[in-house]
């Protein structure tokens, strides 16, 4: 029967509704996360920026405020870009701070 098509249409609409609900819900969830983020940065004075979770690999990947450059920058690799071998595989990549591209940047 043609009701097969209708049945699939219903499934399709349910999936779309589910996906929309997730997008809306996640949009809202950001607000609460923001509140805790505010507390955290007020307490620490602003710590963390990159995809590293500690200083064992490279400080630049943790927070460029601590070290403005990474000496072993790998640049783009397939599937993303990374800072150095110890912090590979990240899609969140940023360049060195201006004026600190090299390890021996001239003093200001």
């Amino acid at each position: 029967m043609e009701s097969r098509g209708i049945r699939l249409l219903v499934v399709l609409l349910l999936l779309v509704a589910g996906a929309t609900a997730v997008l809306v819900r996640e949009g809202r969830a950001q607000d609460q996360r923001q509140a805790h983020a505010e507390d955290f940065h007020r307490l620490t004075g602003g710590v963390g920026f990159g995809p590293a979770l500690d200083l064992s690999g490279c400080a630049f990947g943790f927070d460029p405020r601590l070290d403005g450059t990474c000496a072993e920058d790998f640049g783009p690799v397939p599937g993303g870009a990374c800072f150095c071998p110890r912090h590979a595989g990240s899609v969140f990549f940023y360049p060195p701070l201006p004026g600190e591209e090299g390890a021996h940047a001239s003093p200001p």
């Binding site: 097969r4 098509g5 699939l8 499934v11 399709l12 999936l15 779309v16 589910g18 996906a19 997730v22 997008l23 996640e26 949009g27 950001q30 609460q32 996360r33 923001q34 805790h36 983020a37 505010e38 507390d39 955290f40 940065h41 007020r42 307490l43 620490t44 004075g45 602003g46 710590v47 963390g48 920026f49 995809p51 590293a52 979770l53 500690d54 200083l55 064992s56 690999g57 943790f62 927070d63 460029p64 405020r65 601590l66 397939p78 993303g80 110890r86 912090h87 595989g89 990240s90 899609v91 969140f92 990549f93 360049p95 701070l97 201006p98 390890a103 021996h104 001239s106 003093p107 200001p108």
Partner: protein, 401 residues
């Protein structure tokens, strides 16, 4: 219009006519889209957290510089910077790396002056280091991963984990643990007072950086003044320490501007994988190709026009890719929200464990979702429409053979 809708509806039936083929396309789209959506969501979450970090941090960060490399600066700099016109507050900070326990857990130790701490904060379970002077053990607030790996709870004592020959080693007490949904950098963090940090690192009268707040509009002049005019004798006794400033704008300028900017590399690689993967799958495997060709021939022989046959396939591809994209979004969400990014978070967050015990930063936004759908649609379409067109453009009996 009704006629077109009814033709489109036969496209939905067509999905069920070739269940294996539909399943293969659906699964192929899922396999590519779920990691794509998870990756982009994590990247965007991280990026949003980075932006928050820059915005909520100090206006300027000042660190020492010798031989063009970052280094600590003497505490004397605090007063010198505070005297610059336009500066409203200066707070010295120590940020350093420590290794704890038999397992050699890497931690980031952050020390700030006692007065800096409020009495209570939302993002911490337990207390903060005491604001006033209080004898007794060092007071530490730990990150969630650290607390779990070291098996510590609020109130636990830690035997001395450092050596300070001048002042002696002291035990420490865990006064608080960060909330799991604070930014992910809390996971390996130890927050404590400036004196405790100085004692743990055995570095007197030094800070790793200064947090500087300025009156609005003064950031540029203040940072220029600091960089040009201030320098201090090196703490080791020889040479001088210059100061280097990182402004909030410098940090914000590092952020990729949009999904298609720097993560564009990532997206591009995925598009390529996508195109190659699914085209190979659909075109070369040719699941049910002969059967579909015959079907097109029959439809045309019974009076369907080529464009009507193509509309049917268009509807089929649309429905298939829309459902696959939505399912991929739901799966990506479940992976990140319900299973905490199990297995994948460690790819994107260096130092995260397979099963992270903090809220993985992610953002599922409509644009990547839309992009995912468009990708799925384009690929499924090129895979199906070409063969459909080939069958529909020849006389019906040829297609029916």
């Amino acid at each position: 219009m009704r006629r077109l809708l009814e033709i489109a509806l036969t496209g939905l039936v067509a999905i069920q006519l070739h269940p294996l083929r539909s399943l293969v396309s659906f699964v192929a789209v899922l396999v590519v889209l779920v990691p794509f959506l998870v990756g982009v969501a994590l990247a965007q979450g991280l990026e949003a957290d980075a932006e928050t970090s820059a915005r909520l941090g100090a206006d300027l960060y000042v660190k020492g510089s010798q031989f063009g490399r970052p280094g600590p600066l003497p505490l004397k700099a605090v007063d010198a910077v505070r005297d610059i016109r336009g500066v409203t507050a200066v707070v010295p900070r120590i940020v350093g790396a420590v290794v704890l326990g038999k397992e050699a857990v890497h931690a980031v130790l952050v020390g700030l002056p006692r007065e800096h701490f409020p009495e209570w904060a939302n993002g911490v379970e337990g207390e903060l280091p005491f604001r006033g002077q209080r004898p007794g053990p060092h007071e530490l607030v730990l990150g969630t991963t650290l607390a779990r790996r070291l098996g510590l709870k609020v109130g636990d004592m830690i035997p001395p984990f450092y050596h300070n020959n001048r002042r002696g080693d002291r035990i420490s007490r865990v006064v608080g643990i960060f909330a799991a949904d604070a930014p992910s950098w809390q996971s390996n963090l130890i927050l404590t007072t400036f004196e405790t940090a100085a004692a743990i690192f055995d570095q007197e009268k030094l800070a790793t950086d200064l947090l500087v707040w300025c009156r609005q509009g003064y950031e540029d002049t203040v940072s220029r003044t600091i960089a040009r005019e201030l320098s201090f004798p090196s703490p080791v006794g020889e040479g001088i320490v210059r100061l280097r400033v990182t402004a909030r704008e410098d940090l914000l300028a590092l952020l990729p501007r949009s999904l298609l900017h720097r993560e564009g590399i990532f997206t591009l690689h995925f598009v390529l994988a996508f195109v190659v993967g699914i085209l190979v799958l659909l075109v070369t495997s040719g699941v049910g190709l002969a059967e579909r060709r015959r079907e097109v021939g029959i439809l045309k022989a019974t009076g369907w026009q080529t464009d009507e046959v193509l509309l049917r396939h268009l509807a089929e591809s649309f429905a298939l890719s829309l459902s696959a994209a939505c399912a991929a979004l739901l799966l990506a969400w479940a992976w990140l929200r319900l299973f905490g990014g199990y297995g994948i978070a460690s790819f994107f967050l260096a130092g995260a464990e397979t099963s992270p015990d903090f809220a993985v930063p992610f953002r599922l936004t409509p644009i990547p979702a839309l992009l995912a759908f468009v990708l799925a649609f384009v690929i499924v379409l090129t895979g199906t429409l070409y063969s459909a067109w080939r069958a529909a453009a020849v006389p019906p009996r040829e297609a029916m053979r």
